[in-house]
């Protein structure tokens, strides 16, 4: 039975059901219980976004509040993963990557290859990304391309409650290290989610809006903006095919290429900074693999090559808007 629930609830349900099923699943992070050692409520916070609220009562010490020591606890999650546990560690904001990156990219990402195929590192690092709440330069970045640059880690980025639950369960069960990126402005998005356990395989993009005129590729919150643009363009008779990538590493280029071969036009929407981004990566791959199908230059709609500004007056120009997506689609058509 499917119910209408939020992304926040979908992720909590994935944790709840997987923890019930598999005793090796443990959760850790700053304030994920949110009250350890404090005089008040035990799980006062349940995580910065309240995702874990209620789980402590059920699973007790399988949820660990951590000291503010990202390098140590994320590294410990990775180490525990190589020793038979399935930890999910929370990096509260993706921006904090800077203080723990070594454990992710030199350690977790390399074990399988470096140890000659002997290691399994079933760790999930869930983290929050994106601009839109005036959280300024150090709490608003979209650092997804930094992860996709690195072989050996998988990068997941859901946009709906259905995908969030299915991809989280898949991430927990997956035997490679997974970075699970959630846009901070998506938690309250609602959608139908089955009550039972299910997984969504990696590298299966989702066509979220059908059309033959222009292909729009995106992920995360921007997939919603792309659909919004497609709906508005449809009123003028422009039919866009919107592809939500869902996972960035591995990535489903087949669906993208197939669509571009049909439409001949591509707009890529990525909230990350433009240089060496998901947008530039997809553009390059399409140019290499579907050059002859292209009838117009590829358009990239991204944030500018600047840090994320604090002021809401500037931030609204920073984030790719529906309007900018529409303009780019029209540009591909004017060719």
């Amino acid at each position: 039975m499917a119910r209408n629930i939020t992304i926040r609830e979908a992720i909590r349900e994935a944790f709840d059901q997987e923890m019930e099923r598999d005793p090796t699943v443990i959760l850790m992070g700053e304030d994920i219980v949110g009250g350890t050692g404090s005089p008040g409520e035990d799980d006062a916070w349940g995580g910065a976004m309240g995702i874990y609220k209620g789980l402590f009562g059920k699973y007790g010490n399988r949820l660990l509040d951590t000291p503010l020591s990202e390098s140590a606890f994320i590294g410990a999650a990775i180490g525990a993963a190589t020793c038979g546990m399935r930890p999910v560690a929370e990096l509260m904001f993706i921006d904090f990557l800077g203080v723990c990156f070594d454990q992710i990219y030199n350690q977790a990402a390399k074990f399988r290859y470096m140890f000659g195929g002997k290691a399994e590192t079933p760790v999930v690092i869930r983290t929050m990304y994106g601009a839109g709440i005036s959280a300024a330069s150090q709490h608003s970045q979209t650092l997804t391309p930094i992860f996709t640059h690195i072989p050996g880690i998988k990068v997941v980025c859901p946009s709906t409650p259905y995908d969030a639950k299915g991809l989280m369960i898949q991430s927990i069960r997956d035997n490679d290290p997974v970075i699970f990126c959630e846009h901070k402005n998506t938690y309250s998005i609602v959608g139908d989610v089955p009550e039972e356990l299910y997984t969504i395989p990696f590298a299966e993009a989702n066509i979220v809006h059908e059309g033959d005129d222009v292909t729009i590729v995106s992920y995360g919150l921007m997939a919603h903006r792309a659909v919004e643009a497609a709906k508005q363009l449809a009123k003028d008779g422009v039919e866009c095919e919107v592809i939500d990538l869902r996972t960035l590493s591995p990535i489903d280029m087949e669906t993208v290429i197939e669509s571009v071969e049909n439409t001949g036009k591509l707009v890529v929407v990525d909230e990350a900074n433009p240089r060496c981004s998901i947008a530039s990566d997809i553009s390059a791959t399409v140019a290499q693999q579907a050059f002859k199908a292209l009838k117009a230059p590829i358009e990239m709609v991204t944030s500018p090559h600047t840090p994320v500004p604090f002021s809401p007056d500037l931030e609204k120009f920073y984030i790719p808007s529906t309007e900018k997506i529409i303009n780019s689609v029209q540009k591909t058509l004017s060719n």
Partner: protein, 327 residues
């Protein structure tokens, strides 16, 4: 301990009071304005913690450098950052301290020796080491002061900095502002040692714990450390035990706190009340001295908010400026 309970000149006491009271009024007003929904982003208030920032900053010169935290308003004001610019910054206006690009968590004024509030916990500690290192080369007798919370004291950046400062014998002071919580997590859970003095000695530097709600205790302990550092005596660590009046950030429901905890600390551990009691009891300042300052501060804060609310907003062209110095 000095025999005189308030061992500062009248002018210094007035300055210290103005510092603390300005911070308090600033934060109380931010609390009110945030609730209206007009202030964007995250704000973390320093109300209740003023004696620490003021006690330390009263020992500092303009050319001393401090690195601050996400809870940085008080450090900024005490180090001399202009209040009107700060308020405009909180509103994201183009005349703000950082032209609206930084906001509450990133207010910086390098001319005033304020190296920045910081959204990355622990990140200020290496930067203060850098200031202290520069001072050692320049031989100007300045110091670098790193402020951190009890939570941030568990960050690798901070622990590495302690060792670096001790090894290099640089004039760095690490101030752990221990308010008992890192967000909702208790300090007693997250920090294995009972006292930061043990941490300091583990890293080969002197450490002192003081009642961070007692301006004079902070001032005296910090003064000794800072003077020693200025004379080449190397780094030290000061733990200020203190409390925060408000939630971790504005909007925090604070259900991790004990019943009646906030009321109790506001009633019995208010550093500003304690300061007023100390200076008036010693007859160093009168209530009318303080009233005069209160009125000036009230005018300043009102003007700052009125002006900021009507200040110009940045425009799209501003988005692209100041990424680099040269392109």
């Amino acid at each position: 301990m000095n025999d005189n309970p308030v061992p500062l000149s009248r002018d210094e006491l007035l300055r210290a009071y103005r510092m603390m009271k300005t911070i308090r009024e600033f934060e109380e007003r931010v609390h009110v304005e945030f609730a209206t929904g007009d202030l964007p982003g995250f704000v973390h208030l320093y109300a209740g913690e003023e004696a620490s920032g003021a006690g330390i900053m009263m020992n500092l010169r303009k050319d001393d450098n401090i690195s601050s935290t996400h809870r940085g308003h008080g450090h900024c004001i005490a180090k001399g950052v202009e209040v009107k610019g700060m308020v405009a910054e909180l509103y994201g206006r183009s005349n703000g301290t950082c032209h609206g690009k930084g906001g509450s968590m990133h207010i910086a004024d390098l001319d005033m020796g304020m190296m920045g509030a910081n959204g990355i916990l622990g990140a200020g500690a290496p930067l203060a080491c850098g200031a202290a290192l520069a001072s050692k080369y320049k031989k100007d007798g300045s110091v670098g002061v790193s402020f951190l919370g009890d939570g941030a004291s568990n960050a690798g950046n901070f622990l590495e900095s302690l060792n670096l400062a001790a090894v290099w014998e640089i004039p760095a002071i690490f101030v752990v502002e221990n308010n008992g919580y890192a967000q909702s997590t208790s300090r007693d859970y997250a920090v294995a040692v009972d006292s930061y003095v043990d941490r300091a000695s583990g890293f080969g530097m002197p450490g002192v714990t003081v009642d961070g709600t007692d301006f004079f205790a902070v001032h005296e302990a910090a003064g000794e450390m800072i003077n020693r550092a200025r004379k080449g005596g190397g780094p030290s660590l000061l733990e200020c035990n203190m409390i925060r009046f408000y939630g971790h950030f504005e909007g925090d429901a604070q259900t991790y706190r004990g019943l009646g905890e906030v009321e109790e600390i506001r009633k019995n551990r208010d550093c500003l009340k304690k300061f007023i009691q100390q200076v008036t009891h010693a007859e160093a300042l009168t209530h009318s001295d303080l009233d005069g300052i209160d009125q000036e501060i009230s005018v300043l804060i009102n003007e700052a908010f009125d002006e900021a609310q009507n200040a110009p907003r940045p425009t799209e062209a501003d988005l692209l400026t100041d990424v680099y110095i040269s392109y």
